[in-house]
Amino acid sequence: MEYVIEMRNIRKEFPGIVANDNVTLQVKKGEIHALLGENGAGKSTLMNVLFGLYQPEQGEIYVKGKPISITDPNVANRLGIGMVHQHFMLVENFTVTENIILGKEITTGGRVDLKKAAKEVKALSDRYGLSVDPNAKIENISVGMQQRVEILKTLYRGAEILIFDEPTAVLTPQEIHELMEIMKKLVAEGKSIILITHKLKEIMEACDRCTVIRRGRGIGTVDVAETNPDKLAAMMVGREVNFKVDKTDASPKHTVLKIQNLVVEDARKVPVVDGLNLEIKAGEILGIAGVDGNGQTELLEAITGLRKAVKGTVELNGKSITNHKPRKVTEAGLGHIPQDRHKHGLVLDFSIGTNMVLQTYYQQPFSKHKILKFPAIFEKANQLIKEFDVRTPSEHTLARALSGGNQQKAIIAREVDRSPDFLIAAQPTRGLDVGAIEFIHSKLIQERDKGKAVLLLSFELDEVMNVSDRIAVIYEGKIVAIVDPKETTEQELGLLMAGGKKQKAGDRSESH
């Protein structure tokens, strides 16, 4: 059997770490081949080797049976290898066509022939059913459409082998479904696809075969038809993974957080949180379910002191923290795992060790008389790195260099370690693999069992339903219903999130 791409026994080292060790990847023509591994397992490194961004220390690469040395991305392009990046590389205020032809412009008499280019883009788009408008500006089209532009870019450059780097991380469920259809169409037209992912559902749905990497080592390749999510997860993580969250019933005690008639305005002075009431008790996890943009972000910002509340009160342990500064709120007993870990959670250009004391650096033992005590800081960092299994070459490594899952573990370690009475976890598992998700869920439940109050905000209904003890549905800045996750269904939650009324208990059995 001839492979269109064959990477044999690839080894790639970085100072202090072996990113790929003896990894073999063989892709057949016309298949969707999944590359599965946890965050930081070495998937991206392997693809960067294939794309010519890194040179391997050992191993050979064959393209269509011929041994080849891919020294830079231009070589990869000439060989027909195209990459659809996770973070789009598009010029926001250019049109779709202008973006696609960038660097490969068609010119007549020295001028760019945009009309001709637009026609070619349209033809290409129609052929693969992408329905992209060649004249739309990037800034005006949805994220899903922007991704299709990235796909068109590679096709326009004659790519035969397309690498998709975690393409679904930024997409809505509907867009994910459409992307899967597009990928199937691409392989039907003779293209080959490598899909980098850690989402088992997508592999089961769309892929033909799957190669698994764990901690840089190639574990093996399996036919998707002959496996199941449990087996794949076990290969990826190296042990059995528990998909169902293990937890006992909550035993809620006194009220920790009490919000009354809270009104918060966004930058346009629109009251996006509009008279919201909510109580969270010690020893329970309260999940907030809602469609993005119904005031969740502003609610959290108002609680944590990052945004002013116009009206209403927030009390923590019976004392008002309404419109207090972030530090006072933190000191009053708040831990906060923020939604955007890069923007709010970490100073990416600080070492992971110094990030561990982002809220406590001014306290003893980390400093005394305003002088930092680095031995104490790094001792604490080391303890947390071990305790929370943060995989990093050392505590001095820049936070930027860590994978998303390990960055998130570091943030959680920092927040939980302060032992706050009230913990906010905003989208704590976004973009993470099953192993990390399991770990984070168990940590949240551990905090609950210690008698802390936990507020979980997530846009994944599975997560809200599995982890929470109570679910508060937010709609247009108000809590419209509080439901018991054991007695509700996705359908009911979906209806409530869209502004529907809660059904009576007796009606529910008829609805499914």
Binding site: F14, P15, Q55, T71, D72, T304, L306, K325, P326, R327, K328, V329, T330, H336, P338, K343, H344, G345, L346, V347, L348, D349, F350, T354, L358, Q359, Y361, Y362, S367, K370, I371, L372
Partner: protein, 351 residues
């Protein structure tokens, strides 16, 4: 690319830049019908040749160290302080004012005059800092404007209140002077003064504040990521103002080098001194680090002083040294080029 990474690369870039700058400067001399070998020989002689030249080199380097520190400190906290020149001028004037108008014993008068200069510079830095923190006005614009305000205000004040014969202020009192007969004698009567001690002390202070104190931690955190700093409870506005104040204080202290050290007075300046702007180059070449800045300032000070001998002994105009300095900055700024070149040499053509 792995070979040329991290610490080594940080040192390699400036060193290779200096060598390339000298090399291409030599080519330009050749093209202009000057002998680069005799020119550089004269240049080196002009830096190290005798005690006088060496003393002058160190003297010229002292304010450059401080203005370099001012730029670097702001840069480490995420700010571009292009206003070092203006902060230097107000610092110069304030120190001279204190030097003339107070009668105090030396142990008090001299530190007081230096601190007055630093305080004036700090104040001049605080204004753009405040505008940035409060109204989000970009500090590059405001600091450039503040340079002109400083130039014409200091000239105006000298003209109105402090004028002595010769378009300048009176001399400062001996009790406020950095001048040292001992250092002058040691260096064949150059104008070398104790300012170099102040400059090196300041370099130590910068390193200590940035890397050892909670203040430095906050300043750097705000410089890298304002959102995360705010989330962590750090007062972002306060730290922006503070960063500009400390940066301005270094710049003001650079002004005292001229006022209390080299000249002992302040002249009416027709144009900027250039020392403040050179600070940007020094900071860049010194990779924004205390030690690097001292070395870079000594190099630039040496080139400037050495160029005088180059002109008199080898007949090569001093402007050529200006070109060499510009080339060095060009190569540091385009460090990617050097990365590429070194990779060519170390990996035999592969990149």
């Amino acid at each position: 690319m792995n070979l040329i990474k991290g610490r080594l690369f940080h040192i390699l870039v400036p060193v290779v830049s200096v060598l390339l700058g000298l090399l291409i400067g030599g080519i330009i001399m050749l093209v202009s019908n000057y002998n680069p070998i005799s020119a550089y020989a004269a240049l080196i002689d002009g830096i190290f040749g005798n005690g006088y030249n060496l003393g002058e080199t160190i003297r010229a380097a002292s304010p450059l160290i401080l203005s370099g520190l001012a730029v670097a400190f702001a840069f480490r906290t995420g700010l571009f302080n292009i206003g070092v020149e203006g902060q230097l001028l107000v610092g110069w004037l304030a120190s001279v004012y204190v030097g003339i108008h107070f009668d105090l014993p030396k142990v008090i008068h001299l530190p007081f005059a230096i601190l007055a200069g630093a305080a004036a510079g700090a104040l001049w830095g605080v204004i753009p800092g405040f505008l940035k923190a409060k109204f989000k006005v970009h500090e590059v614009i405001t600091t450039i404007m503040m340079n002109y305000i400083a130039l014409y205000t200091t000239n105006g004040i000298i003209r109105a209140y402090m004028l002595a014969p010769g378009e300048r202020t009176k001399d400062i009192k001996e009790t406020a002077s950095l001048a040292s007969p001992w250092l002058q004698q040691l260096t064949e009567f150059s104008r070398l003064h104790y300012g170099i001690v102040v400059a090196i002390l300041a370099a130590l202070i910068m390193w200590f504040i940035l890397w050892k104190t909670t203040t430095g931690y906050e300043l750097r955190a705000v410089g890298f990521n304002q959102h995360a700093s705010q989330y962590a409870g750090i007062n972002v506005s306060k730290n922006i103002v503070l960063a500009m104040a400390i940066s301005g204080a270094f710049a003001g202290a650079a002004g005292t080098m001229e006022g209390l050290g080299t000249y002992q007075y302040m002249t009416i300046n027709n144009a900027f001194t250039g020392v403040g702007f050179d600070g940007i180059a020094v900071s860049l070449l010194g990779a924004n680090g205390s030690v690097g800045i001292i070395i870079a300032a000594l190099l630039f000070g040496g080139l400037k002083i050495g160029s005088l001998t180059m002109q008199s002994a080898a007949g090569v105009p001093t402007e050529l040294v200006g070109i060499v300095i510009a080339l060095i900055i060009f190569f540091v700024a385009s460090s990617y080029l050097i990365r590429w070149l070194t990779n060519r040499f170390t990996k035999g053509g592969k990149i």
